[in-house]
Symmetry: C2
Subunit: 473 residues, 2 copies
């Protein structure tokens, strides 16, 4: 008798990476249940669709359902897995007009995360989270004057037509309030400014992009202001008010009239499916996984935004819901289930974001108190240095924050901002950190130098030199 | 009695880095002898001055003589050190109208390298090497119509006025032959094309930029052709012919009429000063140095383009005359002589070059036969992958060659080419290589992903994935 199939819940990055890798390695059956209509889409591209840099919504799709079928994957869209019974190795599935039990040999939970909405009324017209192609399509329609709306923007995909039509029919907004100064908030500030709106960005804490540290956060705030965005830091938003359609952002007792709002205050792992199974969860409620993506339930794996991972610096369990992690962990689980045990890899917390012309990156532990909490004795330096030789046109001052442990000299984290090739330079630090380099070793790396690309001492090396000098002194 | 001073021969990258660091660490005297009039200039910027991207010749200077004096350095320009007597710890110096013995406590030989001229007649008008500000100024003057030449281009520096005037008076050329397809050849092809010349590039071997490997070399050649350069590979040049002024490039029995030529066939270490001292030399005749820049002569150090270094991959002695190496080794020797022993650091052979719009990088061992000679069992893969998410505008196909050892999986070298942030990505590989990562570890690095900067799998990760798959399979 054939083994029961490998069942995957979720048809995006982690789930389809797992199913694809699995099918390349084995002839066994794999079934992917996706509760929605969209599969294999680039969540991170949504702000750029709204901005108008991406021509069609469907350009954000990586694989079509038929390409997925061609890989030998049994994909069932609009099939929600509502519960798991680990002792029987079955899941209960609700599809259009049916409900059934599906046995599995192994199960991968790749249900992702959803945008948090906090106390905000996202049922008002004009209020959006940026999480999923339907919300991106609806916001794009909302931003466009009814007479100018072009159905071609959607391409040929299973979009929520009714939602798009309702939004396309509304008068376009003139001023937007963005709640939250993280990735989504910063990217949407750029997108909405490009669409001609007067944009106000509200951030509860004193700086934008918290995980990037003070120097980068401050520089991003200044750059956003230069680009016409009004940045309100240290301003918790109490609510979004309106009657049917959003009319105001209420903050600190003030009311800012707006006719559009984006809520970007974080995401939450979609673990509901495992409620009642007794599965262990870790930080932020994500499903606890080991080095191979195994949960604490037998034959049940989790990968992607729903799962924890091991941090490359602390060695501790962490939760960093980002795209590469999801793809990589999914692929590793696919290989493991197919019989080739493959670690999912650590996460270093590497992240990059574009804020208008400013490129930002971060990795590892950038916050001294987080580093202390992990048992380190951190020291930190922030420098600015040119991105190219001073005489070569087109360079920009590059801000680098570097954190290292005083006792061992080990590089713990870093952040970077600048307009000229700054973001991709974070990969140098990510590689150094995952290789356990000390700041002295980092300082002595033989990095690239040519006037169009870098000064003799790359900004990363300058930061290492300064911090190393302080640790040595 | 005070100790004899620290004497430095050569007033550019290595020499002035050493003197500056030394003076920051100690009150002892340091004397820098420079045989020419220029000090502290950016050799690597010369092609961009010729191209016209750099406004004034003096923009290429980092430090002026007075800034150097302000650092407490006793700089003597137009002072040539003609010999060393290690047993007496003295050098013989020839200055304007004088010749004297200078005792030293420690000596640093930082005499750099000179452009090789091979069999080519560089005394002809219109024939240039690109090595030093005087040759860059002369070529710029030669390229400019006499009526249009603007003395302001020179800024306020000790330029060879007579040479500039002679070249400025000549009719500007229309067609240039470049001999050599390395860094200088490729950069000058871009510069001379920008100045409106019909450019022919001759390369003895079958590909350009040999140390970058076949895939990158071929892509550079194709890109140069797209940009209007005629690339002649596999075409050894026999000579540059002319009567007073260059008239033709003779190659393979053919004659190409030209009225300008650039010879860029490599550089040679300037070791003449040490002739007869019995100092050990290493590959290519450079002065052999240890991990602290010490030569085999007592109290004599060497750093920069004149000295060998240790290769990060092979652990063997090598000679890689590049800017960062020179600055870093000089700085380390300055610290060591001041009493804080500081290793000069290994070299990984990291190099980047811009060829018109194409950015290229290389590091480590990219050539399989070089890797075999060093005792490895190399495997190599070349991939192309997008530099950004496919839907995000402005990306480019990025070519990555990766070399690893079959036995250990260790990453040995790599090369990269592409138009979008390709060059700086070599730093990721440089860091991985200097950290002794395996290709499997490289594949699992948590590198940056955001649509404007990288696809989910960065081209470097794609290369690692493919090569790792092959090594595992």
């Amino acid at each position: 008798m054939a083994r029961d199939p490998f069942v995957v819940v979720g048809g995006d990055a982690a789930g389809l990476s797992a199913a694809s890798k699995f099918r390349r390695e084995t002839d066994r059956e794999v079934v992917v249940f996706e509760q929605g209509r969209w599969v294999s889409y680039a969540h991170c591209g949504e702000p750029y669709f709204v901005k108008g840099s991406v021509e069609r919504l469907t350009d954000l799709l990586s694989l079509s359902p038929s390409e997925i079928a061609d890989r030998g994957i049994d994909l069932r869209r609009e099939h929600e897995v509502v519960s798991v019974t680990p002792e029987d190795r079955t899941v209960t599935v609700r599809g259009p007009g049916e409900r059934f039990e599906q046995p599995y040999g192994e199960l991968l939970v790749a249900t992702g995360a959803s945008a948090s909405t906090g106390p905000f009324d996202t049922s008002l017209d004009g209020v959006f989270t940026i999480h999923g192609l339907d919300s991106a399509a609806a916001l794009d329609a909302y931003l466009t004057p009814p007479a100018a709306y072009d159905r071609e923007r959607l391409g040929d995909g299973p979009v929520d037509e009714a939602r798009v039509e309702r939004n396309a029919a509304l008068d376009p907004p003139e001023r937007a309030g963005i709640v939250g100064g993280g990735y989504v908030g910063v990217e949407m500030a750029e997108a909405l400014t490009a669409r001609g709106l007067d944009v106000h960005l509200f951030q509860r804490s004193d700086r934008l992009l918290g995980p990037f540290g003070t120097a980068v956060g401050d520089r991003v705030a200044a750059h956003l202001e230069e680009q016409g965005v009004t940045v309100h830091t240290g301003r918790p938003v109490e609510g979004l008010r309106g009657d049917g359609r959003v009319e105001a952002v209420e903050h600190d007792g003030d009311r800012l009239p707006v006719d559009a709002a984006v809520v970007g205050i974080g995401v939450e792992p979609n673990t509901g499916l495992l409620d009642g199974t007794g599965v262990d969860c870790g930080p932020s409620g994500a499903v606890r996984t080991d080095a191979y993506g195994r949960t604490t339930l037998p034959a049940v794996y989790a990968a992607g935004d729903v799962a924890t991972a091991r941090h490359a610096v602390t060695g501790e369990e962490t939760w960093v819901p980002l795209g590469l992690t999801a793809n990589r962990a999914g692929r590793a689980v696919g290989a493991t289930v197919a019989g080739d045990p493959t670690p999912v890899g650590d996460v270093a917390g590497t992240a990059v974001v574009k804020a208008f012309e400013l490129e930002c990156g971060r990795v590892g532990l950038t916050d001294e108190s987080a580093a202390e909490a992990a048992g380190f004795d951190p020291a930190s330096e922030t420098i600015t240095a040119g991105s190219r030789s001073g005489y070569y046109p087109g360079g920009d001052e590059t801000t680098v924050t570097l954190v290292a442990d005083r006792t061992t000299g080990r590089v713990l984290g870093g952040a970077i901002a600048g307009r000229d090739r700054a973001a991709i330079r974070i990969d140098t630090l990510a590689t150094a950190i995952e290789s356990d380099l000390t700041v002295g070793e980092l300082e002595r790396l033989d990095l690239a130098y040519a006037p169009p690309f870098s000064p003799v001492w790359d900004p990363v090396l300058v930061a290492a030199k300064v911090l190393h000098g302080r640790l040595d002194g």
